[in-house]
Amino acid sequence: MNEILTAIIAKYNYWSFLILLLIGLHAMISKNNLVKKVIGMSIFQSAIILFYVSIGYKKGATIPITEHGHGHANEVVHQTAAEMVAGFANPLPHVLMLTAIVVGVGTLGVALALVQKIHRVYGTIEEDEILEKIKE
């Protein structure tokens, strides 16, 4: 029991990422309303971003920006390479996720434009109603 608890606590970020991912995926597939699908899509993407950002976290590290030149008590003066490495969070996942967020915005914009157009064509944005109208 204790082990399970420890496992859960040690990786709780991954668990919550999983929950968000599944919420998003489920919404994307099963929601009838197109805007809901889009919201699900955004949640799905942000869940993945959460996962990546979690990779980049390091215990006891600080944000990946070094600053020289002004005395700050909390700032650790990093001398050796090893200290340097342990002292800063991993910047690579952050970079990747910046890109992913931007891609997400682009997709969101296009999706919403399409939703507007669909509404203009069919007068509804419920998937089942659209399918019925297509059949006619």
Partner: protein, 87 residues
């Protein structure tokens, strides 16, 4: 692993809880405006989460994009479509 998985684990738990509540709520509301607004709140909280995980740049971007612009986009779209969702 011990409890000090993160320096600010207390924040972590609460924010994650709120994030999940917001995600479910945003998808459950039948009014699209409400969904959009709650989704905005979801983005706020996500941004907090990332700040807390030392990803300042990501948080900055999410603050700019998720909280601000994409909510506005959703609202702009809602203006041109039916507000009510079936599910």
């Amino acid at each position: 692993m011990t409890w000090d998985a993160s320096l600010l684990w207390q924040f972590d738990f609460l924010i994650l809880l709120m994030v999940i509540i917001c995600a479910v709520a945003a998808l459950t509301f039948k009014d699209l405006i409400t969904s959009a607004v709650v989704f905005g709140a979801y983005s706020f909280l996500m941004c907090l989460l990332w700040t807390e995980m030392l990803a300042v740049d990501v948080a900055f971007t999410e603050a700019a994009v998720g909280a601000g612009v994409s909510t506005v986009f959703f609202l702009g779209t809602a203006l041109h479509i039916k507000r009510r969702a079936k599910d």
